[in-house]
Amino acid sequence: MSDRSKFPPVIDGKAQFDLDSGKYIKVWQGPQHPGVTGNMALELIISGDEVIDLTTHVGYLHRGFEKLMERRRYIQCFPIVCRICVPEPDTNEYLLAAAAEELAGIEIPEKAKWLRTLTLELSRLASFLMWIGGQSGAFGMGTVAQWAIAQRDFILDLFEELSGGRVYHMYIVPGGVRDDLPSGWDKHLEDVLVKTEKMLKEIEIVMFNNVIFKMRAQNLGIITPDMVDKFGIVGPNARAAGLARDLRKDEPYLIYDKLDFQVITRDFSDAYNRTYLRWQEMWQSIGLIRQIMAGMPAGNDYHYNLPNVLNWKIPHGETYVKAESTRGEYGFYMVSDGSGYPRRVYVRGPSYTHAMALLPHLAVNVNIADMAGLMVSLHTYPPEIER
């Protein structure tokens, strides 16, 4: 726990300090700071090397998605939601589709569910690889970053083959998915999975058994179980603290109830354990992908024929759908007023609480050199905060 006894008093959630006293320096990290995943600025007040106060500033990527969706037809929303989270766009696509389908009362074909789950798991793997690159980079281990991000690129190749898009797949549409698996794709997938497994093993050797990585990451940014609900912490950050909360298990969506997996937890949520937990979840994802490929139903019924999408109206109602993204509970809250346009779509990104509430709390007493590592270890992604 951060010890604030030697720090200035906090009144109304703001630390009281006098910058002119010369005791403190104000330093900005970001928005162009390369240690930050995405554009987000950290306003740090430091005393010597130690951070005594942090304020997160967002809005550098604010595009007003929720406003834009209000003036787009339901089908037209789907190309824009994937831009909310660039490393893992599929969760957004799925949730938009799921929310619209639930309100419209559409049951999608079984095959579409399997294909959706496949892309969700694949993008989870890609997102984690991107993130582990950032995590190692934040501590100066560029080598692992190079490997992991290159490996992620091979997964993007798979997505390109499957959906026709590298980064923005736009594969999951309301009503199902856009296309079947291309022929020969399963072989490519297996190749990439084998390579990924090899690399994950290597990462374990060079990263988790690395004396300096341990020195840097252990005991950094400790999340205790009692903090979890107070701060709204979800996903791996909470699981590392020992809480087995995983929407895939708790409220199974798509076909997760047909897959065999266990929720991974660890008993101490510091940067090292969070990293290790995510590394374990990558293995889990690989296992799930194999299970999905093995159980993939035959046939090519992968899309429910919607009414002409230009005139597609969804009845009155509101709903909140959620899915387990790499960062935790990701949700779409959709209100429909019976017209062809959503009345309101609210995107609940897990990074919101992690970056805006948790990070300022954890940052206190942390060496400024560890800020990047701490931030990345929470796996925050700014666009889902400001959207």
Binding site: G13, V58, E102, E251, T319, Y320, Y352, L358
Partner: protein, 179 residues
């Protein structure tokens, strides 16, 4: 799910209730009772997780709806609490003392919808926008396209044709001047 709804009805005489699926329901609550209900749900009914707070604008009934989404990790149920605010001067009781992330949500809602939460820390600070002078952008009456075209002016030189009008021009121009 039904159990908690019954309790809510007994305790707070809350209606109407909209049940979406077996593990999700929305209830509408009177504005001033919300902190009580939230505290009770959080402390006694295991609705410990606040997923989000957001607003929906209904200019046609002159109301802004606030939605507080709670989650129970034991039963895995979602409970959405709705509060209707007056649209002209929306003001809501701040609940930043209940969850740590609430202050940011309220800051965002002030900026995007113009809802006031007296007493919430840092409420007046910018959230995503900087130097915003117009009406809060998430209000329904703010036209983002018009604003964008006025402020950021699209590249000129584009012209489109309506097939219907164009065919009229080409195939039966005589009827053009009528109507």
């Amino acid at each position: 799910m039904q159990e908690i709804l019954n309790k809510l009805i007994d305790r707070y005489a809350i209606e109407p209730i909209q049940e979406n699926r077996h593990n999700q329901a929305f209830v509408t609550i009177e504005k001033n009772r919300l902190p009580d209900v939230l505290t009770w749900l959080r402390d006694y009914e295991d609705y410990t997780h606040l997923a989000f707070i957001t607003a929906v604008d209904y200019p046609e009934i002159e109301k802004i709806q606030l939605t507080y989404m709670l989650h129970n990790y034991i039963l895995h149920t979602d409970l959405g609490l709705r509060v209707l605010l007056d649209r002209t001067r929306p003001e809501m009781v701040s609940i930043h003392h209940l969850w740590k992330q609430v202050a940011t949500y309220q800051r965002e809602l002030r900026e995007m919808f113009g809802i006031d939460f007296p007493g919430s820390p840092g409420l007046q600070e910018n959230f995503a926008l900087e130097g915003w002078k117009d009406i809060p952008p998430m209000r329904r009456d703010f036209d983002t396209k018009e604003y964008s075209e006025k402020t950021y002016f699209p590249r000129p030189g584009r012209q489109t044709h309506d097939p219907k009008e164009y065919m009229k021009e080409k195939l039966y121009p005589s009827a053009k001047e009528d109507k």
